[in-house]
Symmetry: C2
């Protein structure tokens, strides 16, 4: 790298950490990733993991602005939640204790909702970045993932949000129940997915039975593993859509994510007549961290 970054952006999740060397103008000079996610580190291991990651980016001083699970109770330091309704990025960063000379590490607050109880860490930065890139946007942001989040945005604020266990439930059912004999880890069938979405949405109360039904159909009717996998995904996403109906029916919806999950959720929404806008999660994260850095100047 030719020059020392003006600041460093960090997205530190449970499984991975990603850093960008930034200029004040918002240019990305370099990027680094590692698998030293929050879930693998004790408190005193965060600073060494960070220094490993950004070691090639000059001697510093380094000002870091970070989001994600690094600010959880089990993270480097707990960054208190801000409450919604409110802006996605309230003023103020929580500074982690550092020992390296010239290193500062500020964490943006997560957001919480008291009723129904809900929390986010990291997604608030994506929302802020999305709004920086789409000023004045109102509607529902849907962030696919292990814990998909429906986030209602109006007048630059987060009005409320709704997290579901859908993605993690899919993994637990596929890997740790009798359904592991009926679904593949790969393979897909679009028609089976759409049938699952329709069924999950129309009859969410039948879910407990429909899940076992996948096993029964594979025994009795030769339901193939790729079909079973797609139908399972569809049933769960359909059940999520049923509970989240008020968030997407007749609403402006934007999908904010990356990869295969975008395809899955786009197909689910389109099957219900919703044509979602789409935005890239990494760009949104960077734009949000840039916003947080500017405000902390």
């Amino acid at each position: 790298m030719d020059r020392t970054p003006d600041w460093i952006a960090v997205d530190w999740g449970t499984s991975n950490v990603r850093a960008w060397a930034m200029t004040a103008a918002g240019e990305v000079l370099a990027e680094a990733t590692s698998d030293k996610g929050m879930g693998k580190l004790s408190r005193e291991e965060f600073e060494p993991a960070l220094l490993d990651l950004i070691g090639g980016w000059g001697p510093g001083p380094h000002r870091v602005v970070a989001c994600g699970m690094v600010g959880a109770r089990q993270g480097w330091i707990e960054a208190p939640y801000a409450r919604v309704p409110g802006p996605p990025l309230p003023q103020g960063l929580t500074m982690a204790p550092t020992t390296a000379p010239g290193l500062s590490f500020g964490i943006v607050p997560g957001l919480c909702q008291m009723d129904p109880a809900d929390v986010m860490r990291g997604e608030e930065t994506k929302v802020a970045g999305f709004l920086a890139l789409h000023p004045g946007w109102d509607g529902t942001l849907l962030l696919p993932g292990t814990h998909p989040k429906w986030i209602s945005v109006s007048a630059g604020e987060v009005v409320g949000f709704r997290t579901s266990l859908t993605g993690e439930l899919f993994a637990a059912l596929s890997g740790h129940t009798v359904l592991r004999h009926s679904v593949t880890t790969h393979g897909w069938d679009d028609a089976a997915f759409e049938a699952g979405v329709a069924e999950g949405l129309a009859r969410p109360e039948a879910l407990m039975n429909r899940l076992f039904g996948l096993r029964a159909e594979s025994l009795l009717k030769g339901l193939q593993p790729p079909e079973a996998r797609a139908r399972l995904s569809g049933l769960l996403i359909g059940a999520d859509l049923a509970g989240a109906r008020a968030w997407w029916l007749g609403a402006r919806v934007a999908l904010l994510g990356a990869g295969d999950l975008m395809d899955t959720w786009r197909a689910a929404l389109r099957s219900q007549g919703v044509q979602p806008e789409e935005a890239d999660a990494t760009q949104a994260t960077l734009a949000g961290l840039t916003e947080a850095w500017r405000r902390s100047q």
Copy 2:
């Protein structure tokens, strides 16, 4: 044991196997159990496992009548399913290949339902035994378990049935998702359970979100692990009750099972104004196997 049994009853499940030395009059002379369930055995290991189990019961000849997963495709030999509607114990046993002199091993058929697709192996024997002990009983039998079964019985036949993944889903969520941080493996709270049942029954479409809500409430509101565990169980059972409404609302219901799960389901049904009759699963299994043995004479 003073005398050689006239026949041997065996309930061979996925995890365990249980055998009873019986007289022709239906008296139990001795009992043996082992953890050599179907899930741990290859085809050629069934006969040695059986001989280990009944080794103390004299030189034979031994006539065995068995039910359960021993008759699954991955079991000793596949015992074809009989279709419902129909009697719980149709004529005919599937004979497993044996090599020990004087040993015969007959397996009762499982039951299947084509639409919606569903299967049972072992429960049909409990139903037959329950009906032998309660002649003329009509109504819904509920068999709690990893895969709870609602079984509609009329005029001595199984009219239809409905299996759900409720119990296994509880285990997968408690052990293999983020909820493992919020629930205990022990501990219970009756009020939290009933609140969960009410919520799961009233709003099954909210389940995906309510599951994550358990995590959020433990972070934000100090929801305690025993409460979270009971509420999780309640939410899933409530969702099952929602889908199975036609099976219990205004119906005569009998719980057929054993142990803690009986308490759990009894409480769930009573919270909805249903006062279930109750019967012991082991007695029903023995009565059903006795019925199958008599008919095979």
